[in-house]
């Protein structure tokens, strides 16, 4: 009797989880359709588009690029040079040396002929003490801020205080921005006054060739972790974020590449210090203020401006990153819990926020429950091995279909990976992402959730190889 009850419970649990999977994947399918429609419109929009008018315009909005740097002596000079050569007519680059103990500041002083300046500026957002400000003799658009260490959010806030642009573009100092990315990213701000922020696509540089701070040949990484993350990033940006444009707007703009209206960011108090998810927290806070105070509140994702970043290639570093991301997500959702199902916040409160709570936040928990149930069922003989196998394949097969549909979107839009071998490799990584990698990320995300509940707020170290030489993965 007891065995039969346990067996029934396990089967019901598996079915409940499969239904959850179906619901989640059903929502993903809606997102995918929304993304496909948006992408179609976007491709129409950019066809035969010529940006020469913007390049020669006297009214192009000024953009201040904010690049926080910590211990980046090895790569900072190349990264800054790449930023200074972006094709945009009204650009200011603000590099914030966040108290690096290495030679980051000295490298900048030497390479860009920096001289100390004393501009009169107002500290509208509180930050750690600024030790010095420098302007380049050779590049008038380059400003370097040297400050005491306070973390990424503090460095961005210091940059915000100094920025003179109507728009600020927050990036990581080691992100490679494509030369015309800003022209593309600024497009929605030129068309509408209601845009609060816009995010671009992040792609992985692992495996591709880099020269002079530019990605010159795009290849799919040959290394396992980088490869599966390529598929993961494509899915996250090309349908995850693009899909939300029509369904209530985005809650996340990647900290590695996002463009914001400066005034609302300053009015909201800039980036929050005591969180590891400062990029998502800022977007959610800005959108809330937009709803509460009647300001701009649209956050759009634009698929064609591209920034390249290096993905972790070892399980240890990747695990730390995912753990941190999930802690950031948990923290942000907890801080703004009053948004949940609150009609005051429109689609954000009724659709977007609940999705992030019940799918993004809790999915690992439910997935772990399902996997453990499946394992117990098979081990105790309660579940037939064939049934368990079919169940596993069906559940993760749905994820695989979404992955390959994302690859199809990429194929019909930007097809950055040109060779047939690269396409085949992407498919292999998509399969491995679902069967093996995904279960690992579930573990890391669960760990992040548990650590958040225990009150842990640190970043953990991220080791990078750098873009100096062409990487072969």
């Amino acid at each position: 009797m007891a065995v039969s009850f346990a067996s029934r419970l396990l089967i019901d649990l598996e079915w409940a989880i499969l239904v959850y999977f179906l619901l989640v994947n059903g929502w993903y399918a809606i997102l995918l359709m929304s993304a496909a429609l948006d992408l179609r419109g976007h491709l129409f929009r950019i066809r035969h588009e010529s940006n020469w008018r913007l390049l020669g315009s006297r009214v192009a909005p000024r953009i201040s690029m904010l690049a926080p740097a910590y211990n980046e002596a090895a790569t900072i000079s190349e990264s800054v040079r790449a930023l200074l050569t972006l094709y945009y007519p009204n650009l200011e680059v603000i590099v914030v040396n966040d108290g690096s103990p290495d030679a980051t500041l000295q490298t900048l002083i030497d390479r860009f002929e920096l001289v100390a300046i004393h501009p009169i500026y107002r500290q509208q957002v509180p930050t750690k003490r600024v030790r010095g400000l420098y302007r380049s003799r050779r590049y008038p658009g380059l400003l370097v801020v040297d400050k005491e260490n306070g973390g990424k959010a503090d460095a961005l806030n210091a940059g915000l205080n100094l920025a003179s642009g109507e728009l600020v573009c927050a990036i990581d100092a080691d992100t490679l921005i494509e030369p015309d990315a800003l022209q593309r990213m600024v497009r929605p701000f030129l068309l509408s006054d209601d845009i609060l922020a816009a995010g671009g696509t992040i792609r992985l540089v692992n495996g591709s060739s880099v020269a002079g701070g530019r990605v010159v040949k795009t290849r799919v990484p040959r290394q396992l972790f980088a490869g599966v993350q390529t598929v993961e990033y494509l899915r996250a940006f090309l349908f995850g974020r693009l899909g939300w444009n029509r369904l209530g707007g985005n809650l996340i703009i990647s900290g590695a590449f996002g463009l914001f209206q400066r005034e609302p960011v300053i009015a909201a108090g800039g980036y929050t210090h005591d969180t590891v998810g400062e990029d998502m927290e800022l977007v959610l806070r800005l959108r809330r203020r937009g709803y509460e105070q009647g300001g701009p509140k649209r956050v759009d994702f634009i698929p064609d401006p591209v920034a390249w970043t290096e993905a972790p290639e070892t399980a240890r570093v990747l695990g730390r990153q995912r753990d941190r991301w999930h802690r950031g997500l948990s923290d942000t959702l907890w801080r703004h819990r009053r948004v949940l199902f609150n009609p005051r916040y429109g689609a954000m409160g009724l659709i977007v926020y609940p999705y992030f709570c019940f799918v993004e936040l809790l999915a690992p928990f439910i997935e772990v429950l399902g996997l453990i149930g499946l394992a117990i069922g098979v081990a105790t003989g309660t579940l037939d091995l064939t049934f368990a196998g079919l169940f596993f394949l069906t559940a993760y097969g749905l994820g695989l279909i979404l992955d390959v549909m994302t690859l199809m979107l990429e194929e019909f839009s930007f097809h950055r990976y040109e060779g047939l071998d690269d396409r085949a490799l992407l498919l292999l990584w998509a399969a491995l992402e679902q069967f093996g990698y995904r279960q690992l990320t579930v573990f890391w995300r669960m760990r992040g959730l548990i650590r958040f509940l225990r009150g842990r707020r640190d970043w953990g170290a991220m080791q990078r190889k750098g873009f100096g030489s062409p990487s072969t993965g």
Binding site: T394, L398, E411, L427
Partner: protein, 352 residues
């Protein structure tokens, strides 16, 4: 057999079929792209060479053979070819390109598409007409299009058409706050230059408040003396934002009337207006205003103190004298601003 045991294999089969179909589509598309590149690239290369030769050929009668290479392309390829080159041409070569587009039927087709019910078709048509010319009869109606991209493109097209009716239409769109797309309109009005001045002056005379704001931004870029009279009137506008912009405009124009108006605006209740007036006086280099600006170092608003201090610094010796006196001012904010600016004075010439 339970329902679960029956349903699961069916799910799986559906998934496998979907997967196979998507894979066929992806690889089919990849192969088609590869074939198209191999097939079209030589034709496009010879068409590009033919077009370059046509543009450099002074005698049009000798271009007939060359044109065949272009005529062999599909319409969309012809559009692509012409569009790729158009923005980098002007003068005689631009006229030749426009004539070619006309002969190929591209302009007539684009004019037809400007009335299409699909926004993207209207957008592409307007884009082509912006690049190669034409569309005088159809594009103005797109200023009121339902799609923002089409409206913005129509405004971009207008930059090459300095007719008073077009300028007036652009100015009217500028007055619509909910319309968005101000960038393209302002940019076109600035590019139209002299053709904009008279209609803009008339517009500023008859409009006030928010409706005048965006037009003042264009006026500052043009800075023509004919705009002075309406600008002086707008210095009394109820909207602080408009008064600040009007102060900037008269600061860019100069003159006795201007200086008196700016001195009056130093006492404006709005912070932004006082700051704009101080900045404008600094830009004009009107050193007799130094005493009035020195008083503004005590202003409660930071941006006014900053603008006043920078203006004093720009005046040179008379301004620096007032700044040094302010170091011992009983108002700590005035003294602090003076101290910061005098630190700066040693580095005059450094970029700010």
């Amino acid at each position: 057999m339970s329902i679960s045991e029956r349903l699961l294999p069916q799910f799986l089969i559906i998934e496998i079929v979907a997967l196979v179909v998507i894979l066929i589509i992806i690889f089919g598309h990849a192969l088609w792209l590869r074939w198209r590149t191999r097939h079209d690239d030589p034709r496009l290369a010879s068409a590009r060479a033919a077009l370059a030769a046509i543009l450099n050929e002074p005698d049009p009668t000798r271009c007939t053979a060359l044109r065949r290479d272009i005529e062999r392309l599909s319409t969309s390829q012809q559009v692509e070819l012409v569009a790729a080159l158009a923005s980098s041409l002007d003068g005689g070569q631009r006229v030749t390109l426009t004539t070619l587009a006309l002969d190929l039927g591209l302009i007539a087709r684009a004019e037809r598409h400007c009335q299409s019910r699909f926004w993207w078709r209207r957008l592409h048509a307007c884009r082509l007409l912006t690049l190669v010319g034409g569309g005088e009869t159809v594009v103005p109606s797109l200023f009121n299009d339902s799609h923002p991209d089409v409206r913005a493109q129509a405004a971009t097209w207008a930059a090459e058409h300095p007719e008073p009716a077009i300028v007036a239409a652009l100015l009217n769109r500028l007055a619509m706050p909910a319309d968005g797309g101000r960038f393209a309109i302002e940019d076109s009005l600035l590019r139209l230059g002299r053709a904009t001045i008279e209609p803009l002056a008339a517009y500023l005379t008859t409009h006030s408040g928010r409706e005048a704001g965006a037009a003042l931004e264009v006026a500052i870029g043009l800075a023509d003396p004919r705009l002075l009279r309406p600008a002086l009137t707008l210095c009394r506008d109820p909207e602080p934002h408009v008064r600040a912009l009007a102060a900037m405009l008269i600061g860019a124009l100069g003159g006795d009337e201007t200086v008196q108006e700016l001195l009056d605006l130093l006492g404006d209740p709005a912070d932004d207006v006082r700051a704009a007036a101080a900045e404008a006086l600094g830009r004009l280099g009107y050193w007799p205003a130094a005493a009035s600006l020195a008083l503004r170092l005590r202003d409660r608003a930071w941006q006014v103190r900053r603008a006043a201090g920078l203006a004093l610094r720009d005046f040179g010796a008379p301004g620096l004298l007032f700044l040094r006196r302010a170091l011992t001012d009983e108002d700590p904010f005035a003294a602090d601003m003076a101290r910061q600016l005098l630190d700066l004075s040693a580095l005059v010439g450094e970029p700010m």
